[in-house]
């Protein structure tokens, strides 16, 4: 991984106040994810197959993709958010650019996941709403960190493709972006 990206990831974790307590709470959510994760994943694929913009990407391969997705959900509460974790999220962004999926659909799925997992956490921890709130907040931070990396890798990969095709250096693209519009 590019050291600048590793640094940015660490800065973002600090900005979100992503602490050891968050990590502990995420790990504590593992049984809830084990119980609800496959069902949430099924619903998410149902949703993807109902929209023409996303259905075309998953046709005939839902079973295989479901496995990848459940594994992703597990690693979200895996308790380790290091360089390898960052690299795995980076790869998710790049994979989705390669298949030609527009980034906002990934955002849409992330919103679906947030809502579904929050409902599961609230239901499973209904006896202790304060603690449920804390656990939900930690889960949201993990989702936000993920979407931050996925979006960044998406944007970087798209720019890299443009730069390498046109021969226009990244530094020139940055200069051009800063020129005021007419």
């Amino acid at each position: 991984m590019d050291p600048a990206i590793i640094k940015l990831f660490d800065r973002m974790k600090s900005f979100l106040d992503f602490s050891h307590a968050d990590v502990e709470r995420l790990v504590a959510l593992q049984p809830i994810i084990e119980k609800h994760g496959p069902g949430i994943t099924n619903r998410f694929y149902e949703r993807l197959s109902k929209f023409s913009e996303t259905a075309k990407f998953i046709e005939g391969r839902v079973d295989e993709l479901r496995v990848a997705h459940v594994a992703w959900l597990r690693s979200l509460v895996g308790g380790v958010y290091d360089e390898n974790y960052l690299a795995s999220r980076w790869k998710i962004g790049v994979t989705h650019v390669r298949i030609g999926l527009d980034p906002y659909w990934v955002e849409g799925v992330m919103s679906f996941i947030r809502t579904a997992v929050l409902a599961a956490v609230t239901a499973e921890m209904r006896g202790d709403p304060t603690n449920a709130g804390r656990h939900a907040a930690s889960f949201l931070k993990a989702c936000d960190l993920d979407i931050f990396i996925i979006n960044l890798s998406y944007a970087e990969d798209r720019l890299d493709r443009l730069a390498s095709f046109t021969g226009v250096k990244r530094s020139l693209i940055e200069t051009i972006i800063r020129i005021p519009k007419k």
């Binding site: 046109t166 021969g167 226009v168 250096k169 530094s171 020139l172 020129i179």
Partner: protein, 121 residues
């Protein structure tokens, strides 16, 4: 004389050498202006960004289309020419010339100026 003064002198020399050359500039590959002899109404940031983008695209197209190393990029509009050529060392030379300009002479003058620029850089 400072390096910038020297570069400005070379660019002005390109203009005084031929009445058909209306403006010239030295631009970095990153799209930043290094030195220029441009009319005052011209937005230097746009000229620099545009020249660097065209030159990069020209170099890549020349390679991709198997035309060898790029010699220059030439844009011909109704009112004249914009010519860009690489001076090496991460910079490019831009000349804007009138419709009447003799291209052979313009290329020759630009190459000479590019050699002088290399010595200064």
């Amino acid at each position: 004389m400072s390096r910038v003064d020297n570069l400005n002198r070379i660019l002005r020399g390109l203009l005084s050498g031929s009445p058909d050359v209306e403006a010239s500039a030295l631009v970095s590959e990153d799209g930043l202006m290094i030195a220029s002899a441009l009319p005052s109404h011209v937005d230097e940031a746009r000229v620099a960004g545009m020249s660097a983008a065209l030159s990069s695209l020209g170099a890549r197209a020349s390679m991709e289309l198997e035309r060898g190393d790029m010699q220059e990029v030439l844009v011909r509009g109704e009112d004249g020419y914009a010519v860009m050529l690489s001076t090496g060392l991460g910079t490019l030379l831009l000349a804007l010339a009138s419709r009447q300009a003799k291209l052979g002479l313009l290329f020759l003058d630009m190459r000479r100026a590019a050699e002088d620029i290399k010595k200064v850089l």
